[in-house]
């Protein structure tokens, strides 16, 4: 249950005062965390840059490979044009200098600025992952709590078994089976893509169209994530329900519903929130498998293609984006933690 690297510490007496004070507290905490994040991100960028340079082959090799070969002079000219003929340190210096101005460079594969493509892809992934994780979290927590309250009953067994089945199913299999059932056999949902390109929908029709396209990938992902939350929540509720203060509440004459809502849930949620934070930062990188099967233009798919095509600038951009997301999500998790657990204060 360790909160993030910001070092949230146990709050001392007296308790923090007015809401205004808490807001300034949060702001100064955010500023501090931002300052701490800068060296982290720089280290990550330098490290990955050097790592990628260590890998054999570069953009030019990939391009020339695609073209089916070229003469040495042409290759040398291409390298010079892309700046790949310089020593690694010079390249690194140039890249970092541009990065400081938030210039991610040019993608030679897409012939577009990296930032534009990233922005477009990030939207899709955020939508997919945000919805999947929220669904997985809320349903998982709910089912987990129900299973724990009726521990070892038929309901519990049914819920736990279902959870286990989804947990054990590979995502590609689940996705394909859903396509087979809902698109091919029943014809209810579109097979793939983010929207129906030929229909030229606008306004709400477009929103509805995108939503329809996202149903299956979201369902596939959330069913898989759900089982984590379900199992963790079940264990957590069982543990908290045995604690002394729950017994105290019972001795006060509180009913089961009241016990659950006021005494058990909030305490049981803490470890589950930790998992949510951890998972959020990893899955926002995108799910290659699900994005590929449903042909969704997300970050995962982009990262995969960029590796194949040695699109250095694009890869670095993706990594930068992921680093930023991890920092932000960690920060949000800590805030949520401080809100949920009165013993933790933002320091």
């Amino acid at each position: 249950m360790t909160p993030g690297p910001g070092g949230a510490t146990v709050r001392a007496w007296p308790p923090s005062g007015t809401p205004d004070m808490q807001l300034t507290q949060v702001l100064s905490y955010a500023l501090r965390r931002l300052l701490q994040a800068v060296p982290v991100v720089i280290l990550i960028m330098v490290g990955t840059f050097l790592l990628l340079k260590l890998a054999p082959g570069d953009t030019v090799d990939a391009l020339v490979g695609d073209m089916g070969g070229a003469d040495a002079a042409y290759i040398a000219r291409l390298r010079a044009e892309y700046g790949l003929d310089q020593p690694v340190w010079v390249q690194l210096g140039r890249y970092m200098a541009k990065l400081i101005q938030f210039d991610f460079g040019w993608s030679f594969v897409y012939e577009q600025p990296v930032a534009a493509i990233l922005w477009e892809r990030l939207g899709t992934t955020l939508m997919l992952m945000g919805t999947s994780l929220s669904l997985a979290f809320s349903i998982g927590v709910g089912l987990g709590a129900i299973a724990a309250r009726r521990a070892y009953s038929l309901t519990d067994n049914a819920i736990s078994t279902l959870g286990l089945i989804f947990y054990a199913t590979p995502s590609f299999f689940l996705s394909l089976m859903m396509i087979l059932l809902f698109s091919v056999k029943l014809g209810w949902l579109p097979v793939s893509g983010l929207s129906d390109v030929a229909a030229f929908y606008t306004g709400w029709d477009h929103v509805l169209d995108v939503a329809l396209h996202l149903i299956m990938p979201t369902a596939a992902l959330s069913l898989i994530y759900l089982s984590f939350y379900l199992r963790l929540m079940r264990a957590s509720v069982l543990e908290v329900a045995d604690l002394d203060f729950v017994r105290t509440a019972r001795a006060k004459g509180a009913g089961e519903t009241r016990l659950m809502i006021h005494h058990i849930m909030r305490n049981a949620l803490l470890p589950v929130v930790t998992l949510l934070g951890l998972q959020f930062s990893t899955v926002l990188g995108g799910s290659v498998v699900v994005e590929t099967i449903f042909a969704l233009p997300g970050l995962g798919q982009l990262a995969y293609q960029s590796v194949i095509q040695r699109d250095m600038n694009m890869l670095m951009g993706i990594i930068f984006l992921c680093a930023i997301i991890v920092v932000i999500v960690n920060f949000l998790t800590d805030l949520l933690y401080a809100r949920l657990d009165s013993r933790i204060a933002l320091k």
């Binding site: 910001g6 070092g7 510490t9 146990v10 709050r11 001392a12 007496w13 007296p14 308790p15 501090r32 300052l35 701490q36 604690l243 002394d244 203060f245 017994r247 105290t248 509440a249 019972r250 001795a251 006060k252 004459g253 509180a254 009913g255 009241r258 006021h262 005494h263 909030r266 305490n267 949920l340 657990d341 009165s342 013993r343 320091k347």
Partner: protein, 545 residues
């Protein structure tokens, strides 16, 4: 004579199959009159807490259930009530106070909210009226500044205050019966005395009947009107406090009372000629507050402040104090389990704190520890002989010889050598502590540091372990640094004591002299707070053995 508030007849509580006995409680008769404090006394496993569970109908059913008997509360049969009716009684007309003030309150809700909950459940009062009542209750239990405590979370108030909050919660609806389950066991002596006084005072004011569950006869002497003694689920004796305490009839009660350490220190022994084996010089330990790189630091805590003492061969030096006094920190520093900020710890003339890691390992054999919790300090996956032989083997002893030696040590601590191949969980608490002592002795140390070695044990077991320690000390000419919060225990064993408060030594001296005439106000307060100090256990030594 008024009718009793609580009347229990022939209560039997069944345990699940495979338990050590079929009934946790077999045939308990007990009644509590209005305005009376009845103490239910017994050692761990006697079934006293299950009695409370049965009255509140909060037993972990169906594994543990009432098999037989009746529980009448104000003439009403509690066992015949539906869960709904029972829920209305709980917290309203019968309230319970629990042992651990640390864990018995919800960490995520403010103190005010938690007391308020009782009123919300059982009264139709509006928000303002409830708030006023909560503040009134906090004031009633003598909490300073009720308004600020109302908004505090449990972790923000001290242990004693948390227990006051629990009591305020119990009193919220002016119950007719209060069940107090070891309410002061987890508290320091001075706090314990305050809470006991508070319970007495409130009981006189409110006139509720109190069923007070405890294992401590000192507390019984302090508070009880009548006493019921339980042994392994059987009621062995019942009577007025004066009768049971001063003229116990049943052999079990006699044994229990006989085992209570008398507040009579041993005759002073002369150690002036004995060589010094352990010398501590100017020890300081400050715990820096945690903080991140950029955030400001909180004020550091000084746990031990310029502490010096000497321990001579064969001598036992007691370190006494309440929680937070730094006594455990001392035991960790002299064994170098914790690094001191400065100062020196000389064991036989060599400074332990200046040793290199290699020298330190060599030195460790001279100073060994016995820990408080015999359950947690023995590796559950290792056999007893391996636990004991581990130290010598690490120090290069022949494994075979070390195991053989382990068996001898088991005999020395009065365990059967057959115990050698068993695992720690197969032993009782007292036996496990004997294993802990054997483990310490295996290294043939010059000094043993014992950190609260008997505080997790029942009185009768406590007496045996103390006797064993005293015995071994004399036979092997050991020096013992004995850390304890219990002055009765300190009086039994220690030749000299150091009294600590907030990291400093406030008084030190020969036990007998210090107990007879404490000079520092804090020592006086500590001695005055010992529960049942006004009661000298009758001399039952002849038949208690």
């Amino acid at each position: 004579m008024t009718d009793p508030v609580l009347d229990i007849r022939g209560l039997r509580i069944a345990l699940p199959k495979g338990a050590d006995r079929p009934f946790a409680l077999s045939g308990l008769d007990l009644s509590v009159n209005p305005g009376e404090i009845v103490c239910l006394v017994g050692e761990s496993g006697s079934g006293k807490s299950l009695t409370a569970g049965a009255i509140m109908r909060l037993l972990p059913e169906p594994h543990v259930r009432v098999a037989d008997g009746s529980i009448r509360f104000e003439g009403q049969d509690l066992l015949a009530l539906s869960e709904r009716e029972m829920k209305q009684i709980r917290g309203d007309r019968i309230a319970q106070i629990f042992q651990e003030p640390m864990t018995a309150l919800n960490p995520q809700k403010t103190v005010g909210w938690q007391i308020d909950e009782v009123l919300r459940l059982h009264t139709g009062l509006g928000r303002k009226a409830r708030r006023a009542r909560v503040l009134e209750l906090l004031d009633l239990v003598h909490i300073p500044d009720p308004r600020s405590v109302y908004h505090a979370y449990p972790h923000q108030v001290s242990g004693g205050q948390r227990q006051r909050v629990m009591i305020a919660m119990a009193l919220a609806c002016e119950p007719k019966l209060i069940i107090a389950d070891e309410p002061t066991t987890a508290l320091d002596v001075t706090t314990q005395l305050q809470i006991l006084k508070l319970i007495r005072e409130l009981q006189e004011k409110e006139g509720a009947g109190i069923l007070f569950i405890t294992h401590d006869f000192g507390v019984v002497a302090e508070i009880a009107d009548r006493v019921v003694v339980l042994s392994k689920g059987e009621m062995v004796e019942q009577g007025t406090a004066a009768e049971v305490l001063n003229r116990p009839k049943h052999p079990y009660t006699r044994a229990l009372i006989g085992a209570i350490p008398a507040l009579v220190p041993p005759r002073p022994r002369d150690f002036r000629d004995a060589p010094v084996v352990l010398r501590a010089e100017g020890l300081v330990k400050t715990f820096a507050a945690r903080g991140s790189l950029i955030s400001g630091k909180r004020a550091p805590v000084t746990a031990v402040d310029n502490l010096s003492f000497t321990l001579r061969r064969g001598e036992t030096l007691g370190v006494v104090g309440e929680s937070g006094s730094g006594k455990t920190t001392v035991s960790r520093i002299v064994t170098r389990l914790l690094e001191s900020d400065c100062g020196a710890v000389e064991v036989d003339g060599t400074d332990l704190l200046a040793c290199s890691p290699r020298e330190l390992r060599e030195m460790r054999r001279h100073i060994q520890m016995v820990f408080q919790d015999p359950m947690a300090s023995l590796n559950p996956r290792k056999r007893v002989e391996d636990l004991i032989a581990q130290g010598p083997i690490v120090h290069g002893a022949d494994p075979k010889a070390a195991r053989a030696r382990a068996r001898e040590l088991l005999e020395l601590v009065e365990l059967s050598p057959a115990a050698a191949t068993r695992y720690p969980h197969e032993f009782s608490g007292g036996q496990r502590q004997r294993i802990g002592i054997a483990r310490a002795l295996a290294m043939e140390p010059k000094v043993i540091v014992a950190d609260e070695p008997v505080s997790a044990l029942d009185v009768s077991v406590q007496a045996q372990v103390l006797k064993l320690l005293a015995d071994l000390r004399d036979r092997l000419d050991l020096s013992v640094l004995f850390v304890t919060h219990d002055l009765r225990v300190a009086a039994q064993l220690c030749d000299r004591v150091i009294v600590m408060q907030k990291g400093r030594i406030v008084e030190t001296g020969v036990t007998a002299e210090l107990f007879a005439a404490p000079s520092h106000p804090y020592t006086q307060q500590l001695l005055a707070s010992i529960p049942g100090r006004g009661w000298t256990p009758p001399d039952l030594a002849t038949d208690a053995a």
